[in-house]
Subunit: 436 residues, 2 copies
């Protein structure tokens, strides 16, 4: 990452600390960061630090973990609204064929900027051309968990075999401090048994995650059942594909048996309520049932082409509303659980809960400072802060954002690159892409 070297140690003085630790404590006090990690949380002042930030009037909140998306598609926000997934993909696939490395990078930068400005510090992505996304991650300082899209060679516009392309991508980005390269079979509808198992083997041998779409639409589920005799989760089990360190996005159309199956195999679910609702997928990801079965659930925005935002605050809100509505029970997914999904549960999903997702000594210093004087948090009663984060806060309540102790957003300005240059570049790239 370009930009300033972070100070070796920083004290954030007198903040409201939304720790998300095992006791979900709210503390008032100092947060001290050293060498990119959290040294102490809420403890009384001790020892000097290189920098001190006056954090009175701010809540410090763990960085949000966005567990599913296609960040380069931010360039396509609003291009294909008000149509179902089939018609949506038809429009999008036509555009995909025209995409260049330049506009993938420009779109990724646009989306990463939006995420950072909304307090998201880690994201899980599924796309091809992930090298361009990785460069945008590197330049803006977010954590990118980047899944190279794998599908059957005869169905892709990728040159060469997608599994081999993924292997190359893993090799090129194996040692980057912010990029975690991983493997992403797109879905059972475009992956043969051989392709899927090749992707899984590659992820396992490389010690990385496998990320895929699963049971998003009725069509996907029923087409697969017609073709193979099994619905997608049981088909994946039948070929020996299920296992831990896997993140399945959507999980909208799941039976009770499938919920148990996924939980038993340790497959995590990325719930994407805004995208599912807007595409009228009809079903509802069974979040409480998955959690009761022992599964881990995080939140994902999906892309700005279907959401149409990358705000994790909006995602928490939508996740809460959808489940309450679905169950006729206002107590389902209360505010604290929604914040858990966006932080510590998302970190578990990415197999990084020892490193990310809460304010605890030893963890990476990934967090945001929320302005307590922002209209969307007023009145800023400390006992209501978790409610405000889940139900009312807007992205602009985020004042500053740190990733690994480095300030990546300061008073709503990206530190690496001016927002206006990212926007201008993205709009130039959109010009060609949006042409009918």
């Amino acid at each position: 990452m370009t930009g300033e070297r972070p100070p070796a140690s920083i004290r954030f003085r007198d903040a409201l600390l939304v720790t998300q630790d095992p006791d979900r404590r709210l503390l008032r006090g100092d947060l001290v960061v050293e060498d990119g990690r959290i040294r102490s949380v809420g403890a009384p002042s001790e020892g000097p630090t290189e920098e001190t930030v006056d954090a009175r009037g701010f809540a410090i909140v763990p960085g949000f973990v966005n567990t599913h998306g296609h960040v380069a598609m931010t360039l396509l926000r609003g291009i294909a609204d008000d149509r179902d997934l089939g018609a949506f993909l038809e429009r999008l696939f036509a555009l995909d064929a025209r995409r260049t490395e330049t506009d993938i990078e420009a779109g990724a930068a646009l989306g990463i900027a939006e995420m950072l400005l909304g307090g998201t510090t880690s994201f899980l992505d599924l796309y091809y051309g992930e090298d361009a996304v990785a460069r945008a991650v590197d330049s803006l300082g977010i954590r990118g968990f980047l899944g190279w899209a794998v599908l059957d060679p005869e169905l892709t516009t990728q040159k060469g075999h997608p599994v081999e392309n993924a292997r190359g991508f893993l090799g090129r980005w194996a040692n980057h401090p912010l990029v975690t390269p991983l493997v992403a079979p797109q879905g059972v509808y475009v992956c043969s048994r051989e392709t899927w198992l090749g992707a899984k083997e590659l992820a396992e041998k490389s010690g990385t995650l496998l990320h895929y779409h699963l049971s998003e639409t009725r069509k996907e589920v029923h087409d697969h059942e017609r073709k193979t005799g099994l619905r997608p989760p049981h088909w994946l089990e039948s070929i020996g594909a299920l296992g831990p360190h896997q993140v399945a996005a959507h999980g909208v159309w799941l039976t009770r048996a499938e919920i148990e199956l996924l939980a038993r195999h340790g497959v995590g679910i990325s719930h994407c309520p805004n995208s599912n609702l807007k595409l009228a997928t009809g079903g509802v990801c069974p979040v409480p049932e998955l959690r009761e079965a022992g599964g881990v659930v995080g939140l994902g925005t999906d892309s700005a082409a279907s959401n149409n935002s990358l705000s994790m605050l909006r995602e928490m809100h939508a996740a809460g509303l959808l489940q309450k509505h679905q169950k006729w029970d206002a107590a389902v997914l209360p505010a604290q659980v929604l914040l858990d999904l966006a932080t510590i549960e998302g970190a578990k999903l990415l197999n990084t809960s020892g490193e990310l997702g809460s304010l605890e000594p030893g963890k990476r210093a990934d967090f945001s400072l929320f302005r307590l004087d922002h209209p969307s948090l007023a009145p800023a009663r400390p006992e209501a802060i978790v409610s405000h984060l889940a139900y009312s806060a807007s992205d602009e309540a985020v004042d500053s954002v740190y990733v690994g102790g480095r300030c990546v957003v300061r008073h709503r300005e990206l530190t690496a690159r001016p927002w206006q240059s990212i926007r201008t570049e993205a709009e130039a790239a959109a010009e060609a892409l949006w042409r009918p």
Copy 2:
């Protein structure tokens, strides 16, 4: 209203004009305002004006019309989450008894500030103590359609008879340029036939609106049916209460026959999706069916205690998602219709469509300037502006807001009073109210 005298004429030069006129035209050009009204829209430059605003880089959008809420309750944001309407109201009624004129005005100012900063220029309110709300309207320069809550005398904490209190309120604010006082029977569960008809007669004699809650929960509907033999809409018809110039909030549990009935009597519906979803009311306001039957539907935020925001942008988004989900049809309530509900349809609901809700010559100059370089609108393709407003824009994309040609928000600062003083006053008032 205190603050600066507006210039007699203003030219907004070279804006993207989201007219919401009968052809829903998007124009590029000038908007000229004279004596608080729109003189020309998109026409070539003609004649001098007292002030010129360079509006390149902005979209000018009609001010949003929020058709249901309880603005003074903004003080209670986050105080009673994750519980159904019954438990929610139990908590809220206990607090109501402790409310003072001072904190009603402080809460109203907080809510009005939030609405103005999010591009809302008119709102319909239902509460007691509306004089305090009217003072906040006057001081901040929004348009307030303020309904004095009417219920049976033995059920209210109001001193005196609520219908007489409403009459007094109508008299006191009959000639204010921004306040439209009106009558608001709270709901069939707290109003006898006599009370309801007294309220209706008062509204009709005063030539103003009647605003009420209707069929929000199953309990309300079934309790009333048990008590009277009729569900609420048909009971209202049976007592001769239905008619035009009425706005019923919620309309969540409506039968096909009730949809026809309300449309036939010209009763408008304020749809409040975020509040309904969060309170787990279970049903869904049949927005497309109401519109097909010839009814008028607007959007309302309800209060910040149940929403938990007063953003009309969030309301459009939720309204779209809920209907698409409900119908398994992504094409239902497309972006343009969502923007219609928030602007011109809301104006029809308030019986002000000749005055408000679109950018057309002769109408009141109520509109907002949206920054086209805001992250939530990027890439800012003109052909996607309506989509962005419906699905991704955040309140902070609003740069400036005009009501009747007077600038009430300039570059995100309220012109009448600093936001920080409103917030400080509200938080002082909350201090006593939030005590357990």
